[in-house]
Symmetry: C2
């Protein structure tokens, strides 16, 4: 798998996070902070409206890594996330991962991981390190 | 808020992630990779059983930060996550955040963020940078 990868290779998809997704994530993560749920409360915050949990936005790369690129059998070694802008429910997001470096010997691939909002501004950036599944022919 | 914080201050709680939580997180994140769901498939992987999504484990700090410490009004600036060991559903986890450094002038607090499994092994480590809500008396 890793032998067919090149620096600059990327995958992306689009996704809208709904308020229902935010509620589901609040339940499963345990974070029921009113910043994500309470319209009246958020009018007094700098964000003015409920925002999506940062960690839900940061969880959108996992679908690409686990299911598509590198795909099944990939091991997630690390992920860092820098939250640059608030993400609001109902907005079309672009989720993009791009190969930054490849270490063939150690079977590690570093990806730049980015989320863009509907104005094409980068709302979240970071990097992930992954171990693609080792094929027998990879030696 | 930040003026009352000290390096070494920590908060922790315990949490079991169930297979139902994993299914809910799979739906909301879009990652339906069989490593998290398919018992028969996972017997052929190095983990032998379905594992919890790394990003779900990494989402457990958000509850403390958003609801307790620093609590309401906190802004999440960044989070990095290093996945050290697989986490299995049904296991009692300890979720811990500890203040590593404080920058009063910039209103930034860095936390060490850790998840321990039932053998008290660190399964996930990393750091988060947060901006606690600025109280008027903070100047």
């Amino acid at each position: 798998m890793i032998k067919t990868m090149k620096i600059g290779d990327y995958r992306e998809y689009q996704r809208v996070i709904t308020q229902a997704d935010v509620e589901q994530f609040g339940t499963v993560s345990g974070d029921l902070n009113p910043a994500h749920f309470d319209e009246a409360y958020t009018q007094k915050t700098i964000f003015k409206r409920p925002i999506v949990h940062g960690m839900l936005v940061g969880s959108l790369f996992s679908k690409i890594f686990g299911m598509e690129f590198p795909g099944e059998g990939t091991i997630y070694c690390s992920q860092n996330l820098i939250f640059l802008k608030p993400v609001y429910p109902g907005v079309m997001l672009r989720v993009k991962v791009t190969i930054k470096s490849i270490n063939l010997e150690k079977n590690r691939v570093v990806f730049t991981t980015e989320i863009f909002n509907q104005e094409d501004q980068c709302a979240l950036t970071g990097e992930a390190m992954l171990m693609p599944r080792k094929e027998k022919q990879d030696g």
